[in-house]
Amino acid sequence: MLKLISCELLKLRRSNIIPISITGVLSTPLLMLLEALQTHFDKPELIFTLSDVYNDSVLYTMLLTNMMVYVAIASFLFSREYTENTLKTILPIPISRTKLLLGKFCALLLWIVMLTIVTWAGIFIVCGIYHTVFTLEGYSLLVAIEWFPKFLLGGILMFLTTSPFVFVAGKTKGFVAPMIGSAVIVMGSAALANQEWGAIYPWTATFFLVQGKIESTGYPTALSVGIILLLSAVGFFMTYHHFKKEDLK
């Protein structure tokens, strides 16, 4: 499996999607900096801490920008084999389609975790800049480290919810359809971010879980977890079935 993952990572060398995805996930730290500056100048009496910034950034990360970036990279990873006609070079090699698929999902997970770390570190760096100029309460590496597991959990949960988009990318052999789909689910997430129903909508349930908000919605945590896992399993299975049975025309 390590061999497959290293191949997947090698395939990304010099790829434009790497800087694009990093730029994409850095939009959250940038937005946080803009929000901090706006608050500083409009409401100077309001005191906020690094922890507050991280808390607010989880919403942007999980429901808006990062989710779209993750769908884009998931679609790229899987659809490029069709658009660049590489499957007909790879599939005759004696390696099972199942292993190839697993290698891709592992590479996707690694990439998502890496980008989540970039977001987390980016927030710490922009807050550091803000702190140097205006002073930010509670700015310390320890606080940032306290938030790290939440970001990591968020990244893994978001990875689980990308599997249906992977299926769409494989089925449509491109990433236009999955990107349209991600725009739709992001709009749904924005609408349900403060609603109780958000606990049963997979893409906001992940956010509620990370923020510990499920209980306040009245829905059991197990239900939200179950819905996320079910969605993920359906996505994985449909991708597997399609990839395994597909005729390469």
Binding site: K3, L12, R80, E84, K88, T89, P92, I93, I95, S96
Partner: protein, 305 residues
């Protein structure tokens, strides 16, 4: 005879369209088998089924004497292939692309990558990414990928597409050498008869999904018959002279053109006889029906390409 590839009633249907219909192919060990056919004849689909890229609707494929689904690892580690235009990652160099394939195959010897690139003449372009390759270079990289692991069977779908004449000649020589020196079995498709004719030991002809001919090239050359063509004033009168004076029946008459396939008598004698019987011979031409004409007839005219 030991067959490296053997198909039995191999069939592929897409909806109601049958693109490959009950194909029974036999590729003997160590031979070069040329699969000929016009575009859309079903050649690529046959190859894709052999390589697990497409699943047969019906029929079986046996590779190295075993069903291709049995022990895939052992079977496919001995196969190199190119299907249509080779697909590689545009952001990677030729070396990196081959490195990925070598890793996936579990090839530990990285020299194999360099040596394959050298064979196809791409060793000096190590830093160029695939997206910047010309069509010919892409095709060469495809060939390098196919031969990198020293396969026992090569399945090549139109491998010389995009190559310049020198490149075509080099690849042709290389494939012949592989087959004759290493005993590599080569299954190669093309819609260009002249290319196949020069290297193949056996030729299979596909047309509209059917394999309509599978023949040894030596037999085929024998079968393509020589004839002498006479253009003269009266074809029918000349035919009577052939039958009555020489007992020749193996000829055809079309208007005032007579084609004689029987060489048991001297052309000079026949010509003199025609003249003595008052026939005016305007042209005598010794000719041989070439393979292209033969295949054009076989697939219903219109040429192979």
């Amino acid at each position: 005879m030991e067959f490296i590839i053997e198909t039995n009633n191999l069939t592929k249907r897409y909806g109601t369209a049958t693109v490959v219909d009950k194909v029974n192919l036999h590729v003997p060990k160590g031979k070069i088998y040329g699969l000929l056919g016009r575009n859309g004849a079903g050649k690529t689909t046959v190859m894709k089924m052999m390589l697990k890229l497409t699943f047969p609707t019906d029929g079986t494929v046996r590779l190295f004497g075993k069903d291709y689904k049995d022990n895939e690892t052992a079977i496919y580690s001995k196969i190199g292939s190119i299907i249509e235009t080779p697909g590689f990652y545009g952001n990677l160099t030729g070396y990196e692309n081959l490195q990925i394939l070598a890793k996936l195959r579990g090839q530990l010897c990285i020299n194999a990558v360099l040596s394959a690139l050298e064979i196809v003449g791409l060793h000096k372009e190590k830093r160029k990414v695939f997206a910047d390759y010309s069509l010919g270079m892409k095709q060469r990289l495809g060939i390098a990928a196919a031969i990198m692991h020293d396969p026992k069977l090569l399945i090549l779908d139109e491998p010389i597409n995009g190559l310049d004449p020198v490149g075509i000649s080099e690849i042709r020589s290389f494939l012949s050498k592989l087959s004759h020196d290493n005993g590599t079995t080569i299954f190669i498709s093309s819609h260009v008869l002249s290319e196949i004719e020069q290297i193949a030991d056996i030729i299979g002809v596909m047309h509209e999904g059917h394999l309509i001919e599978e023949v040894d090239i030596a037999v085929l050359h024998k079968r393509n018959r020589k004839y002498t063509q006479f253009d003269l004033s009266d074809g029918q009168a000349a035919a009577k002279i052939l039958e009555s004076h020489y007992h020749i029946t193996d000829f055809t008459v079309q208007g005032n053109t007579l084609k004689v396939y029987d060489f048991s008598h001297s052309i000079g004698d026949i010509n003199r006889d025609f003249a003595l019987n008052g026939l005016l011979v305007t042209k005598i031409n010794a000719s041989e029906e070439n393979l292209e004409q033969y295949f054009s007839k076989l697939i219903g005219g219109g040429g192979i390409a």
